[in-house]
């Protein structure tokens, strides 16, 4: 709750709205205690007194009634009616929406078509019709305004409920013996209340206006009772001669609706989880770079692509998440480097940092270099980075459904990927796209080019993803878990395709995965990551056969291998450390059986001879001896 107010207070306009609204509500609440003249006492001798007349601060109206008193009583009434209408509409609308969304099927259809019918009428016409049927009066106006607003709540809440009703926790509640009404009350309702509050906060101002509108037409509050709308309506005839009688209630309506809407927007922003997580803030085109020591822009490197001591962090509020702390690696043409690690080990962030694709904010590259043929790409001007992306260094991502645009044909997306980097005619583009689809072994490429992503299977979509990565003949492909979302039979096809492509085209591949089996089959070398660092690196078979870092050894032991029969698995107790609070020394020490005091003090270097290196003081096998 206090977090909510803090978020709300950060929004200046909302805070202003809250203060003004608070004052108005306070004033309305204490109105009966104030020494005011009775708002309904007429005194025709004093009609149309201007503001600041003695005894009448805001003057009087056409019947000589005190305007200040009428304004305050009227505000009180308008606010009460507006809030009541909003509450009624929210409760009724939410109930309808939850029932429709939860029971779905025919119930949903019948209820929602009814709601649609309600929405088909212009709102003021519908309100007029309701009031006409029930007869004028404030209570009837309240009912009319509520009913008119029920569809808004019902549709909103139904949408949320449909999503919730298929969540696993609802199934779990059923299995715990809960009945449907109980599930609605205890599982669904607590999850939709924030949405109801958001919807209410943004519509309440509107409802006050609508009530005022009905009163203005003479269908709401009846004389002599004052509310803001009827005050305006009665003053209309004297608009030119005595403008203060209409301006005063008009200003009050403006103040109320304005402050409520500002406050409502603030409440929505503070409560909406998507806005809270910053998901709607647009990331920059390239990751922010903030390096203390700038490495040389160009040096000689062995590899085609090499990372030198890369540091990438996420700065969220006052916390610093060190996602990648000092990663160095390199690949040669035709080589496949595996990067293996668990979730949160920094393997994906490493990959995204190379081309400045880490979302900023909150991502910041704080050190190191990513060199393509010796040329540092980190901090390169955006046009240069953009011309390299996809042309020299291409990515394949985990979920092809999310990578491909659902509304464009795959062929058009492939042609777009080509035409980003060089001008190509329509027919040449199409021919090239067909050639690309054939190169990733898509059957009937000529027909498939006109398919939409949803018309293809997961494996086919990932082939298109690979074809897109190949579109500009890149030198390096960075594949971030490209087969994790696929079935095993499809995975085997994709892996064999990638393997052939790198042999045919001399591609350098950085292959990110968590699966040792995949690494063993595809990769020449492997680097194991833990808590943002490489803990071991070396030729794949050497690392898998004789892991030197205890983490590698125990991770391999965790993974069951096909053909082993029923058995007990070796587990690593505990959890990986959180990268915003890394221990000094070895990050794996708290979970390690070989750890000694020395492991928890100071930096441990990635040490080794030749191609193998390990970041451990007490390795399982001595890397130096083995290579010597």
């Amino acid at each position: 709750m206090s977090a909510f107010f803090k978020l709300l207070a950060r929004n200046r306009l909302a805070l202003g709205g809250l203060i003004v609204m608070g004052l108005v509500v306070a004033l309305a609440l204490i109105t009966p205690l104030l020494p005011l003249i009775d708002p309904d006492v007429t005194n025709t001798a004093d009609r149309y007194l201007p503001p600041f007349s003695p005894g009448h601060l805001l003057g009087t109206d056409q019947l000589g009634r005190d305007l200040l008193s009428r304004l305050l009583w009227g505000t009180r009434l308008s606010l009460a009616v507006g809030f009541a209408a909003a509450l009624f509409a929210a409760v009724a609308g939410a109930a309808v929406g939850i029932i429709a969304g939860f029971y779905s099927g025919r119930t949903d259809n019948i209820i929602m078509r009814g709601v649609d019918m309600l929405m088909a009428f212009p709102y003021i016409l519908l309100a007029l019709a309701i009031v006409a049927a029930l007869g004028p009066g404030l209570v009837n106006a309240l009912i009319a305004v509520s009913v008119v607003n029920i569809p808004f709540f019902a549709r909103n809440i139904r949408g949320i409920t449909v999503g919730l009703a298929h969540k696993e926790f609802v199934d779990a509640a059923r299995l715990s013996g809960m009945s449907n009404p109980r599930i609605i009350v205890s599982e669904i309702l607590p999850n939709v209340i924030p949405v109801i509050v958001i919807a209410m906060s943004t519509t309440i101002g509107w409802m006050i206006l609508e009530t005022a509108g009905l009163s203005f037409l003479g269908l709401g509050s009846q004389p002599p009772q004052a509310d803001l709308g009827s005050m305006l309506g009665e003053a209309r005839s004297a608009l030119i001669t005595n403008p203060h009688t209409s301006v005063i209630p008009g200003i009050m309506i403006l103040i109320i609706v304005m402050s409520i809407n500002l406050l409502g927007d603030g409440v929505r922003d503070a409560l909406d989880p998507r806005l809270k997580s910053g998901a709607l803030s647009r990331p920059m085109a390239a990751t922010r770079v903030d390096r203390k020591d700038k490495p040389a822009a160009r040096t000689q490197t062995d590899g085609l692509l090499s990372l030198e001591n890369l540091h990438t962090q996420f700065h969220v509020k006052n916390r610093v998440y060190k996602a990648v702390s000092g990663v160095s690696l390199s690949v040669k043409p035709g080589e496949c480097l595996g990067v293996i690690g668990e979730s949160g080990s920094g393997k994906s962030v490493t990959a995204l940092s190379i081309m400045g694709l880490v979302a900023s904010p909150p991502g910041v590259i704080t050190g190191g270099a990513a060199r393509l043929e010796g040329h540092d790409m980190i901090g390169a001007p955006y046009p240069e980075l953009r011309s390299l992306r996809g042309r020299r260094v291409a990515y394949i991502f985990q979920d092809p459904l999310a990578t491909l645009h659902p509304l464009y044909k795959v062929g058009d997306q492939l042609i777009e990927a080509i035409s980003c980097h060089r001008a190509i005619s329509k027919s040449d583009g199409r021919a090239k796209a067909i050639e690309l689809l054939k190169s990733v072994r898509i059957p009937n490429a000529e027909q498939r080019i006109d398919s939409y992503p949803h018309e293809m299977s997961g494996g086919m979509r990932q082939r298109v993803g690979i074809a897109m990565a190949l579109a500009n003949d890149p030198d390096v492909i960075i594949a971030d878990e490209p087969t994790t979302a696929l079935d095993v039979t499809v995975q085997a096809q994709i892996l064999s395709l990638l393997n052939d492509l790198r042999r045919e085209r001399g591609l350098a591949i950085i292959f990110i995965t968590h699966d040792f089996g995949v690494v063993a089959q595809l990769c020449d070398r492997v680097s194991v990551m833990y808590a943002g660092r490489i803990v071991e690196t070396g030729p794949t078979m050497a690392v898998l056969n004789a892991p030197a870092h205890p983490y590698t050894a125990r991770l391999i032991a965790c993974v069951p291998e096909l053909g082993g029969g029923k058995r007990k698995l070796e587990a690593i107790p505990g959890l990986p450390p959180s990268v915003d609070d890394l221990p000094t020394g070895c990050a794996f020490a708290p979970r390690c059986l070989r750890a000694q005091d020395a492991c928890k003090q100071g930096e441990i270097a990635l040490d080794g001879m030749g191609p193998r290196a390990v970041r451990c003081l007490f390795p399982e096998t001595n890397v130096a001896e083995e290579t010597a």
Partner: protein, 317 residues
């Protein structure tokens, strides 16, 4: 050995394109009639690729989905009403995504209380005692009880999910991909916990997964599902070492194994069968190197082959 769970000709058909009034346009057979039995104390593994009907089967077994035909017998008693509350005391479910199976707005204590209160009508103090006992057995600390689900890691949340299933005192657990959302180091912790619990409480498991190695490591017997039917069933140590159905062999050959050279075991790229327009005969025939005319005409039945294996194929390997 007694039979804990007996499924006879269980099938599920989903109507497609349902209109407001009147019937549906078409139907998708998600699960073809399946007959399976699980002995008390046994772990039956169910493997299959996405869309093979394994989750639909699991949801029918706990009553979350009504079966179209067939029947389910639990410990000798038929359960034909699709009422999760009736099933709940006998058979429970552990979900794939541990975090989304816990209501984000409830404390762990409230979540744990529900099955004890509603299924077993326990009073407050008895519930508290029982929750602490269960938490002890899944290695969770009692102070977790007052926290909310988002405060837990995947592995911890999955333990809570298992604890909730245990609270219902069901003796059969359906584990639907219980470790596929977890990291490998945590995956082993959860699998070992499941093995310990099984021994301690004499549980029976139905373990559903797409990961062949994991299923093989935890199961006594394995059933392979393809396109809604069981194509092969046998003992865990035999089925992938000695597959009799061409599909099982394809699965076993596709799994990445250290030391095996990379290869695409399937040369032809036949499209997967379309559920709206299922092929006649064996669903695998189009992808099968051994398919003959009979395979494309009539569907093979699951038949005994060897001592402990059953296979639905006219040309078993």
């Amino acid at each position: 050995m007694s039979i804990a769970l007996q499924v006879t000709d269980l099938a599920k058909t989903f109507p497609v394109g349902k209109k407001l009034f009147g019937g549906a346009k078409g139907a998708v057979k998600a699960v073809h009639p399946i007959t399976l039995s699980v002995e008390t104390g046994e772990t039956l593994g169910i493997v299959g690729e996405s869309g093979c009907g394994k989750s639909t089967l699991a949801r029918m077994l706990v009553g979350l989905l009504p079966a179209t035909t067939g029947q389910i017998e639990i410990e000798g008693e038929a359960l034909n009403t699709a009422d999760p509350a009736a099933f709940g005391k006998r058979i429970q479910y552990v979900f794939q995504d541990p975090i989304s199976s816990l209501n984000p707005r409830k404390t762990i204590r409230q979540i744990m209380n529900a099955p004890l209160k509603l299924l077993h009508k326990m009073d407050g103090p008895a519930r508290e005692k029982r929750i602490l006992e269960i938490f002890e057995s899944v290695n969770l600390r009692a102070d977790f009880l007052d926290r909310y689900p988002h405060e837990f890691s995947g592995g911890q949340a999955q333990r809570i999910g298992i604890a909730r299933a245990l609270a219902a005192q069901a003796r059969i657990l359906i584990l639907d991909e219980p470790v596929s959302a977890l990291d490998v180091s945590v995956q082993a912790q959860v699998l070992n916990l499941l093995a310990d619990l099984k021994r301690e409480f004499g549980l029976t498991y139905l373990f559903i997964s797409h990961d062949l190695a994991v299923v093989e490591a935890v199961s006594d017997r394995i059933a392979v599902l393809y396109f809604g039917s069981v194509v092969e069933e046998g003992r865990a140590e035999d089925i992938f070492a000695n597959p009799r159905h061409p599909y099982t062999k394809l699965l076993a050959d596709s799994a990445p194994v250290v030391g095996r050279p990379i290869s695409d075991p399937e040369d032809a790229h036949a499209e997967l069968p379309n559920p709206l327009d299922p092929p006649q005969g064996c669903a695998f025939a189009k992808r099968c190197p051994h398919a003959s005319d009979i395979c494309r005409k009539t569907t093979p039945r699951l038949e005994q082959i060897g001592a402990d294996q059953r296979v639905a194929c006219y040309h078993p390997l």
